[in-house]
Every structure is written in C-alpha cells, then in structure tokens.
Amino acid sequence: MFGSITTDMVLAILPEIALLVLIAVVFVTDLVVDEKRRGILAWTSIIGLLITMLLTAFFAQPGAEAETLWGGMLRHDWLAYVSKLIFLFGALITTVFTLNWDSVRFKGEFYVLLLTSTLGMTLMGASADLIMLFLSIETTSIPLYVLAGFLTDDDRSTEAGFKYLLFGAMTTAVMLYGFSLLYGFAGSTGLYEISAAIGAGQIPAAALAGAAVLVLVGFGFKVAMAPLHFWAPDVYEGAPTPITAFLSTASKAAGFVVLTRVMIAAFSSVQAEWQLMLAIAAVISMTLGNLVALSQTNIKRLLAYSSIAHAGYALLGVIAASELGAASVVYYFLVYVVTNMAAFGVVIVVSRVIGSDEIADYAGLSRRSPGLALVMLLAFLSLAGIPPLGGFIAKVLVFAAAVQAEFVWLAVIGVLNAIIGLYYYLIVLKVVYLTPGKDEQKALPTPRPQAVALVVSIVLLLLMGTVFAPWYQWALNSASALF
C-alpha cells in the first residue's frame, strides 16, 4: 500500500532531517537549562549547523543524473545541493553574529525560528511540486516575519515585522492564485509534469503568461525585486541586524533558486513573455535600487537598496534562460551571500559598540578598528564588482549570459548601473577611511567568534574571485540539472 523508502530518498533529505533534529535539541535545551546558562543555545545551533553542513557536503551529494524523489515532491540535484549549502552557510554566519547580542542570545525560540526558516529554504531549493513549493515558502517566511519583529520592545522592529507580514501575506495569496491556475491548466502539481502538460495541451499562451505574472509576484517579493521591493528598506532597517543579514542573503538566494527552477522548468513554453517581464523588472530594480541608494544616510537602508539592485543584476542570469545564465545566477549567489554576510557582519559589530546605524557615525572606523575597515572595504568593493574579488566574476558571468542570450541592451544597462553602484559604495568607504571621527582613539574590539566568521567570509570572497574553477564547476553542475 505504501511504497518503501530507499537510501537515496533518505540521503536527499539528510540536511532537513539534521535540521529537524537540531531544532528539537535546541527546543528541549531551552526547556531544561536554567536561564543564566542559556548562552549554550547559540553554540548548540552553531555546532549543529556545522555538523549539518558537513553531513550535507559529504553524504547528500547527488549523482550526475537529477532524481525526482518522494513521490515527485523533491528534486535531488546539484542545484538543490549547492543551494542547501548556501542557506546553511547563511544560517551559520547569522547565528555567529547573534553571539554577543543579549536580547536574543538567551532565547531558544529565536534559534528555533531561525533554524525552521533555514529548513524551509533547504526545501525551497529542492521543491519540484507546487504544493511542496508553497509549503516550503511558507515555512521559510512565517518564522522570518516573527524574527523581523522579534524585538517587541522596539517599535521599529515591530513595524518591520508587521510590514513584512502584510506584504508577504498579500503576495503569497497572489502567488497561490497563480499556482491554482497552473494546476487547473496542467491537471498536475509537479513542475516537470506541468511543463509536459503545457507542451501537449492547447492552453492559450496569454493565460499561461497571466499565471506566470501571478507566480512572479510571489517570487518577486521573496527576492525583493522591483516593483515588489517596497517592504525591503523598512524591514531591513527595523529588523534585528543579523536577521536583516539573513533576509538579504539566504532568503533572497532561496527566492532566486525557486525563480530559476520554476521559470525554466514549468514556463518554458511562454519563455519570451516572462523574459520580457523579468527584463523590465530587472531594469527597474537595478536603476531604482542604485539611484535611491545614493541618497541614503542609514547603512542598513543603503544595503537594502543595494540588495534590490543586486536582485536586478542576478535577474539577468535568469532572463538568459540558458545553461550559462543559470550557472551565473548560482555563482552570483555563492558570492553575494558571502559578501553581504561580511558587510552586515561589520554593521552588526560596529552598531553593537556605537549604537547607531548612521553612515556618518562610521567616520574614523579605519583608525578605531583597521581590521573591520578592511573587511568592509573588501566586501563593498566586491559588491561594486571590482577585481580580484568574487563580485567581479559574478557580474561578468551575469552580463556574459545576458549578451549570449542576445539581451545586449540589458547588459549595457547593467554595466552603467554598476558604475553608479561603485559611487555610493565608495562614499561609504570614504567616510570609513578619510573622514575624521569623534572617538578615534577608542579602539573598537571585535569579539573572537565574529572575527572568525568575518575572516572566513573574506577568505571565501577572495577565493571566489581568484580560484575560479571549483566554484564555477558547482555552478555549472547546478545549471545542467535544470536543462
């Protein structure tokens, strides 16, 4: 009656199983350990996430052929594998950044929610079915709504959580409507079955494109692309900074994995239409993100607009709808997650000490903490796309994919935008290095775990910019799983 469970099936969900065990462990630890010693919760999560990453890396590696397992719910392929590692890395670094932060450090529920959200993301990366996809997106989002509003004593955090929730609920509803139309057309919820059914049936292309628009609303919200970016600056500013880091990296990457997979797998027959829609979204995202970022005075808002712009760049890879395009998206997010984590890491460490997120207050940072200033320099230059950092390669790949797919005009707009971007990244760096600050003599110490996390991120960033081959191989493997 029930079909049996094979080793392959278990290995495919190994990261999820490990995360679930970790969630249970944290939950129970929170219950039994008394209040003063709850600092071990963060360390439990960190060690657990490390173990999960190792288990995933060594045992959950897919074969050359992509498999669809668990009754068509999950896909076991390289894209899922690489994206799971990205999300786990994001969660790990985020957890490290909460270590010296007393308002959440002793709260088990913070870590439980963070890990649940990560669990949702790993499933998003592997989903091959609309039902699975919807549930995993919700599993990712619902804990994030709460985490964004976690500081219930802080009005801005509450506002962030509430805005995120309202915007998320609305877009999810629209997306779900799109899913239901797709199911109605194709008579199946599996992404790959839908693609086959669309190929065989005589569904009007306009109707399919309409469904694509609705679905894109939901995905666009998750990746914070224009015109669905309105939530991002407020939420990024108000949310606890480690959560902002998590939102802008792992959550965005998860959105992009899903976007790439669904668009290429299910909507291949209306490719020209969705390419046009996404191209418009990409242009608006890049231009608007970069232009508005110019006038920001708050570092978190600046990074929010920068992340909108980066969603625009990464969209170019999706629009290309080619193997190179998909590979460039994966590469982009390998780099982007590491870079943004480093950038937000500096923001977290600095704001812990100076209690402000205003760019003006970063004056003299290079004298107070040369190490942090260097990390910031490298991260921002990578965001701007300067060689020999990872950001450069990522941008080159994305633009190359756009050119190859004959979207030269998009690539040109992208390059122009990258120049605008460089300007405001350099303004921040100018404040950090050149502007004299008030407390220049006071050293700004970096706690050891955060220092380790920052160094790891920067080393990875340099590696992705110089030792290019192994990462690109990962990206290529992931891309080939889609076609």
């Binding site: 009754g71 079915d129 619902i142």
Partner: protein
C-alpha cells in the same frame, strides 16, 4: 435545467452575494457573519462535487475555527461596536476597475481553452475516498513530505505567535 443545476446556481449566487457583502459592510461583525455564509456556500459546493470530506473540513476549520476566531478578535478588540463610517479610500474605484478587468480577461482567456468547457471524467475508485486520502498523505510516494513540513511550519507559527503575543516583563 436539472434540479441540481438550479441548486448550484442558487448556492453560487448566495456565495458570491455573501462574499460581496463581506467587503462592503461597515460593521465588522456583520462582515464576519457574511463571511460565514460565503464559507458555508463553498462547503455546499464541495458537497455537490461529492467531496464530502472537503465539505465537512471546510465547515470544521473555516466556519468552526477561523471565522469564530475572527468574530472573537473583533469583539475583544473593538470597545464600541459602532459602524466604521467609511471603509473605502480614494483608490477604491481603481481597485474595483482592476478587479473587473482581471476577471473579464480571465474569463475571455479561459473561454479559448478547449478543456474549459469539457466535462471532467468522474473519479472512479473502488476504494473509499477517505482511505485513499489518508494513504496519500502518509505514503512516501505521495504527500508525506509536505504533510510533515506542514506540521513543522505550524509548530513554528505557534512559537512565533507566542513570541509576539506573550506579555512582556514590566509591562
């Protein structure tokens, strides 16, 4: 027209009418009560499709739990039960226009789709539908992963609700 079609038309119009009333009432409790009627109409439609399980679940979950929670929330949070004077803002007209456009374009598009007017094949199953449903939910080659993920998600939502709603110390 068969009696069943008459019943369908009646139920469909009642559902739509109630749904329209939900969004146009000034009084929140009245809106919630109309919502109950609309949800009940959907349950009746499920019965007409011979989906008895979905029908009772619709009543149990939506009418028996969700709508009652809404009414509860309205009663507990609004001190007075006065009508809200104006429920529209200056975009109401535009939103209405968009909704009408969207709906008509959907109808036009659907009309071009041959399967839209085709009759669906009746589900012929020798087995009890509830048994089928239960098996599908827990079978590894069915929906066991979404089923389990849903439980994880609900647990997280529960914890999240507690985090948000729990009274703070010193307040």
């Amino acid at each position: 027209m068969t009696p069943i079609q008459l019943v369908f038309l009646f139920v469909a119009f009642a559902t739509l009418w109630a749904a329209f009333m939900v969004v146009t009432r000034n009084n929140l409790v009245h809106a919630a009560l109309f919502l109950v009627i609309a949800l009940f109409g959907v349950a009746v439609l499920f019965v007409m499709l011979e989906a008895g399980f979905l029908a009772v679940i619709q009543v149990l979950v939506y009418i028996g739990a969700i709508a009652i929670l809404m009414i509860f929330a309205v009663m507990l949070t609004r001190g007075d039960v006065d009508d809200i004077p104006d429920i529209t803002n200056r975009y109401a007209g535009w939103v209405g226009l968009v909704a009408v456009l969207f709906f008509s374009s959907l109808v036009i598009l659907m009309a071009q789709w041959p399967s839209f007017t085709a009759l669906a094949k009746p589900i012929l199953s020798s087995r009890d539908t509830i048994v089928e449903l239960g098996t599908a939910l827990v079978s590894p080659n069915g929906y066991v992963i979404p089923f389990e993920v849903a439980s994880v998600m609900l647990l997280a939502a529960l914890i999240g609700a507690l985090v948000v709603a729990r009274p703070r110390k010193g307040k």
